[in-house]
Amino acid sequence: MGLPDTSRDLSSEVEVDAFRRLFPLRFYERHLSESIRPDGRPLGRARDTTIALGAVASADGSGLAKIGSTTMLAAIKMEVMTPSMESPDEGCLAIDFHMPPICSPIVRPGRPAEAAPVVSKQLSDTISSSGMVDLKELSLVSGKAAWMVYLDIYCLDADGALFDAALLSAVAALSYLQIPAVSLNEDGRVVVVSEEDGGKPEKEPVNRENRKLTLKSIPFSLTCILHKNYILADPTAEEESIMETLVTVVLDSSSQLISLYKPGGPVLANTSAIQDSIALTRQRVRELQKILDEANSGMEVD
């Protein structure tokens, strides 16, 4: 291995880094005019995405999703509760998104990140409006007991496209969820049946048949950045901080539009830009569906 021509190469590399820090917009526009981005991706391509199921053994369901460097860990804990009066046949799904200080240098302890409650609300709205989880499946004994599903998503590394990664990890965790078996004891209270008890249990499990949720119309999303005439799919944190106009499109597996989110921004989008974003999302949904199916079938083989 010969030594590289250090003196000249390093100095030109330092200039490129300095240019990138001092004039980030011009640096990016030089790349965009050649239809490429600094990390080598074409404009419409998302970063490498992986899903790992069952990352947290102590939770009832969990999923780790990575889009490029952005890492999200979602885990589900289930508790039994009494359903409300208005909907005695339905359980409840509580979604919470956290950005602990490890994920990014701009998050300070004691002061939560600005993006955290926004993404949290977006996720809640998207998952409930997509109808992915049928709350009636979470009912145990009508009017008396139902499941409360706590879905907590932790951002472990924040490098752009937070909503996409969070939604993907939530969907992965829900698809992997194993509902614990429960039974009614003598007081009429619902207790979790432990699986290690050998022999015949005196109490019949109430829900032996349905241990997994049936998910219909799974939502997948793609965030794009609009800048002049360019549409960049799946931005990194650096791109998000320079070009501020984001559009997030959420489609389900049958390509129906679940949600469209464009929170202001300096660039005004005409209909063709929106349609192009939706087309990019449609393509992305196919990729994500494949990745999720592979992850699920990988776990079933075990």
């Binding site: 102590s58 939770a59 994920c103 240098p105 590394d157």
Partner: protein, 241 residues
Amino acid sequence: MEYVSPEGLRLDGRRPMEMRQIRAEIGAVAKADGSAVFEMGNTKVIAAVYGPREVQNRSQQMNDKALVRCEYSMANFSTGDRMRKPKGDRRSTEISLVIRQTMEACILTHLMPRSQIDIFVQVLQADGGTRSACINAATLALADAGIPLRDLVTSCSSGYLNSTPLLDLNYVEDSAGGPDVTVGFLPKLDKVTLLQMDSKLPIDIFENVMQLAIEGCKAVANYIREILLENTKQLEYRRGL
């Protein structure tokens, strides 16, 4: 309840002087200056270090050394029952303080005046020994960030149940109500920087239990050194040296 069977096996099949399986990985968080994941059996923690960087709160700036801050928090799903308040409760505040003081002792803070080093530790799965796993993860993360250290700090816990000293307690053994000794150890300098114990223990037995924990710390130190060497070899390889 029997924590050590007559054949000398514990609840999870280990021998009394056997540690749980350790696994560590450096560089888990791309955005952080240094980061590490550390697992001791089923306890899994992730640590990230940001710094040295500019002090965020000017009034706390120290002119002759670096300011070290630490925050310990547990994920909602890390324990058996879902936790309502993962940080800001008394236990988390106490552990944050303990980790900060332990790490501050081994960082050469006088080399980085007027700056701030942040250590954030997040517990993803808790099965006993979270304090020790956090300190080990923080050491690896600090080494990954290239912060000058006096020595590695390694930590391990030990206890005394059914008249047997036990190394590296898990959650069930920890909540048995027996003594729980946590030791933070500097292997090269052969010094103890952290020593915590609760419950009661006669003094001569305490010596044995503490020695056992120190042996555990030395074993962790060997493993951490291997990981760091492997990491450095990878870095050299990538630079083409």
